[in-house]
Amino acid sequence: MNAPYRARLNREPSAFRKAAVPIGSVLIGSMTPLLPIVASAPVLPPFGLIVLICWQLLRPGIWPVWAGVPFGMFDDILSGQPVGSAVLLWSIILIALDLIEQRYIWRNYWQDWFIAAIALIFALTGGLAINNFLASDTRFSVLYPQMILAIFLYPLVLRLVARLDHIRLKR
């Protein structure tokens, strides 16, 4: 079978792939609560949010600032949090990341990790605070394992996202 003719010069990455890979990866990250894990404590880190933060830090400006709304909505429906909590928290995180991007342009790897850690801690704490406000008390200490896992998963997810970025921009 003959390969279809493609230009050898000046190739452009597929527009569909360029748009779909980041969106798809965040949505798949948000779908992790569908895995057959019946946990009696919150253990699974918020993969959707980690992937979202990684894309934003790796390729600033890839998301419009309002991207937290649709992604948060999708995450809320699947995660079991009250609907609206991720919409609110993810929007705030994306606005904050955008401001950081404008203010602190030259950052190194460790600073990025620090920013991601703060964002993740904010998201988890905020989710717990919303639950405690709407329902009843759960202790803050419940979140420690999830926080530690999320913070230490960030470098791994960042590698994965970088690999996905290669696929995305492949010509």
Partner: protein, 340 residues
């Protein structure tokens, strides 16, 4: 490089407006999130249709994966059972011998219990099973504790029905879809279950801590009577949960109660049973001719109520207080024996 003074990307009006609209949309979105939160606070069932749609769509692959997970768990258990097979076999045979004798005793006790209950007019309402199912996934990344069950309203599951495993209580059904339903697990902070100590009936209630354990809180605050290793079972008060289902074993004592470990770990259970909602039957003392089986303090209160329907026994009731006025508890017992 210092950040630019102004954020204008250039002289393009369109690019400037795009940035402005982006921020406007982002802040509006965050505010919309707040509104959605308010909506889900005042109407918790508002998004149940969307949620159940999502779980319905994701249920078939989740079911398959759960089957694989359970298969792996069981396979591992079987492999590990080969070690120490001989000594374990002998030990189990000895235990089976001992249990056989106990089983016969228990059967006799059960028969006796049934007789006594019939005598009391108490109908023991066992929660009839509605469906047997598997927990296919859970809200593992949220601080609320929900799980998804792979049966729904088509299989007869309704809101509020208790869910139990063989080893103990799991939770109750919160939302139902056609083929899936959402279960509020015992370890959720919103799940409060009236319990009592299996040994002596000390009343308490259990509330989830969100980390797989429950707080056992005493109703009667005083000296903490709990000991590590006490087993708490449901008391059946207030309905929903049938009585005498094991809930938790006490692990640690606290100031106003204890912390209990759940007996039925949802992660380790294979199948769970959805039962009918328990409705406590009010035993009418007049119908049985006996006071409710509780302490002596209730007996004088029950005495005048019994007197109305028992017209044929009227001369006796008039007579007995005169003979034994000091012992109100013996009076109904004597009458109950005469009646049949």
């Amino acid at each position: 490089m210092a950040p630019p003074r102004n954020r204008r990307p250039g002289f393009s009006r369109k690019a400037q407006l795009q940035i402005f609209t982006g921020y406007l949309l982002a802040f509006t979105g965050a505010f919309a999130g707040l509104l959605l939160l308010a909506l889900s606070h005042f109407d918790p069932a508002a998004f149940s249709a969307v949620r159940s749609l999502a779980t319905e769509v994701s249920a078939p692959p989740a079911r398959l994966l759960t089957g694989m997970r359970v298969g792996v768990q069981q396979g591992w258990r079987e492999v590990s059972a080969y070690f120490y097979a001989g000594s374990k076999n002998a030990e189990l045979q000895r235990e089976a011998e001992r249990n056989r004798i106990r089983l016969i005793e228990a059967r006799a006790l059960k028969q006796e219990n049934r007789e006594l209950r019939r005598l009391l007019g108490l109908i023991k309402q066992e929660g009839r099973p509605v469906a047997t199912a598997r927990l296919i996934n859970s809200s593992a990344s949220s601080s609320r504790r929900f799980a998804t069950l792979d049966v729904g309203s088509r299989q007869g599951v309704q809101r509020g029905q208790p869910v139990r495993a063989q080893r103990g209580l799991i939770g109750r059904v919160l939302e139902t879809g056609p083929n899936t339903s959402r279960v509020l697990l015992l370890s959720d902070a919103e799940n409060v279950v009236p319990v009592r100590r299996a040994r002596d009936g000390t009343v308490a209630f259990s509330q989830g801590r969100g980390d797989g354990r429950v707080d056992i809180k005493l109703i009667d605050i005083g000296i903490n009577p709990f000991k590590v290793g006490d087993v708490m079972v449901t008391s059946g008060n207030g309905g929903i949960y049938p009585p005498n289902v094991p809930v938790a074993i006490i692990e640690k004592l606290t100031g106003d109660g204890a912390i209990g470990k759940l007996l039925a770990n949802p992660a380790a259970t294979d199948f769970v049973i959805v039962q009918e909602m328990y409705e406590p039957e009010l035993a009418d003392p007049a119908a049985s001719g006996l006071p409710p089986a509780n302490t002596q303090a209730a007996a004088p209160l029950a005495a005048p109520r019994r007197a109305e329907p028992a017209t044929d026994a009227a001369p006796e009731t008039a007579q007995t207080p005169a003979t034994t006025p000091a012992d109100p508890a013996s009076q109904p017992r004597a009458e109950g024996q005469q009646r049949p």
